[in-house]
Amino acid sequence: MGLLAFAKELKTNKYIYLMIAPVLLYYAIFHYGPMYGAIIAFKDFTPAVGIWGSPWSGFGHFTDFFNGIYFWRILKNTILISVYELVFGFPAPILLALLLNELRSAVFKRTVQTITYMPHFISLVVICGILKDFTSSGGIITLMYEWISGRNLGESLLLQPEMFRTIFVSSGIYQQIGWGTIIYLAALTGIDMEQYEAARMDGANRFRQMIHITLPGILPTVVIMLILNLGQMLSVGFEKIILLYSPITYETADVISSYVYRIGLQDFNYSLSAAVGLFNSVINFILVILANAISRKLNDTSLW
């Protein structure tokens, strides 16, 4: 298509292009700008001389990272937290949606929904603040842990490296279990009521109806959500991690993104941090593409 056609299109829809221009500018600056800036991963960047003034370093920062002592630790922690979230966090809202679906009282159902949505709206800082208080020495979670395990901790539960992932993942379930049901509840409304009628005629009890009708009915949604989650395997966010971890728990708590934050914005090792971040972005991108391709094959549904 020629330049002329391009100019003609701009002219025909000039208002629309003018309206969308600030949005495109936003994406260019705050999303594509950093993608361009990621070049510093291949340079020895110093802010004083800028991106182009800084000398090239090739893949030096990447090899430093892969050979560094923290590579396996943060990779392992990231994958483990993702796996725990997948195993425990992923099924939780599905189970809750199934239970909600069985309720006969609409008022009770609405009440459960409203209440379980609540933690989604509480800020991360407050959630972590409450967690810190409850897991402190003498806090109610610590007391419960001591009662169950028979140990006398005498210090915060959050300072026990072996407990960090459990605390992290279970508080995540607390915050998102209710919110996560929304999409499954919507899928449930699409199930044909006549199927239940027929099953009842055949003498299927409520539990069997759940297993044989309800669950298959939401399966496509479950599969899509599962694939989306698989695509996120290496993108555990840093905000909650850095609110909860401490040098004592780095061995189990430090993930790729929190490491990127620490070496970049606390140690000011910009280029190394950018290299680790870029590595993470590329892997995440590949995972999403793969997940989407699998979804298209299996399910005939894809994200794009």
């Binding site: 936003y26 950093p34 993608m35 510093i40 995440n284």
Partner: protein, 292 residues
């Protein structure tokens, strides 16, 4: 109607019990924080275990929280960031969603791809930080609102919602000579109040709760939003600003209930709002879930 069987009744009973337990578990942390916040500080300090009623009653902690100038400025700053941020969010998201929903736009596909791609690939934290600093936004309100001006997820929700509005509604306006700006503001937006409510809630909550960008871009404490002040009090355990004027013994004791009161003060506004918007945001979450 299904006839009541023994197994059905048992199933229902267990289900109600499980869900009631879940509700209690969800509410209890907030209930505990509330009860502790109005209790006598000395009794809270010596108490261990669950709370079911306040131990004594005092509003001293709340008094200290409201007397703390940082909480007040934090509140004012947060409200400023939410209002300015929301204004920009709603304007840009509507403009973008309008453009992306216009079928006559020849480059619609390319523009959509340009935007969606950023959901799956990012330049990373440090390059982002350098961009914001590089254009001189640090230490200003703009460092908090501009990088968050559009959420791609929300943009897609709004686009889907605009696409559902019948084209016939705008045709007569177009014949009368209305341009796209008029069509968006006079026809599309007035028909989109539910989705605007959802956007307001989503964007509003995310501005209210955000703290990280403020932490890395703001140096001056007088600009800190509430969440950053909360972080100092709750995560870094610093209640010194509020216990000034109390003697040392009291300081430690009141410090504990001050934390609880701070949580309540920071959380209650949002908890009062969201239940009323429930039917809207559930719908919004669903539109967003449908593939774009």
């Amino acid at each position: 109607m299904e006839k009541r069987t023994f197994s059905g009744t048992l199933f229902d009973s267990i289900n109600y019990l499980v869900l009631a337990g879940l509700m209690l578990l969800t509410i209890y942390p907030i209930l505990y924080v509330f009860l502790a916040s109005v209790s006598e500080p000395s009794e809270i300090l010596s108490h261990s275990g669950l709370l079911w009623k306040p131990l004594g009653f005092t509003l001293l902690a709340y008094q200290k929280v409201f007397e703390n100038p940082m909480i007040l400025t934090g509140y004012i700053n947060t409200i400023t960031y939410v209002v300015v941020g929301l204004g920009i969010n709603l304007l840009l998201t509507s403009l973008g969603a309008y453009g992306l929903s216009r079928r006559q736009l020849k480059y619609r596909k390319q523009i959509t791809l340009f935007i969606i791609f950023t959901m799956f690939f990012s330049g990373g934290l440090i390059p982002f930080y350098l961009v914001v600093k590089g254009i001189g936004l640090n230490n200003t309100l703009w460092a908090l609102v501009l990088p968050a001006a559009v959420s791609t997820f929300n943009l897609m929700i709004m686009r889907t919602s605009f696409e559902a509005i019948p084209a016939s509604l705008e045709e007569s306006a177009r014949i009368d000579g209305a341009n796209d700006v008029v069509i968006l503001f006079r026809i599309i937006l007035p028909l989109s109040l539910p989705v605007i409510a959802v956007m307001t809630l989503y964007y509003g909550v995310s501005h209210w709760n955000s703290w990280f960008n403020a932490m890395i871009f703001l140096a001056d404490r007088s600009q800190y939003p509430l969440q950053l002040i909360l972080r100092e009090i709750l995560i870094q355990n610093d209640t010194s600003a509020m216990t000034a004027g109390l003697d040392v013994g009291q300081t430690n004791i009141v410090g504990e209930t001050i934390k609880y009161a701070t949580i309540m003060v920071a959380t209650v506004p949002i908890l009062l709002v969201y239940p009323f918007l429930q039917k809207y945001f559930v719908k919004g979450a669903l539109v967003g879930a449908v593939k774009g």
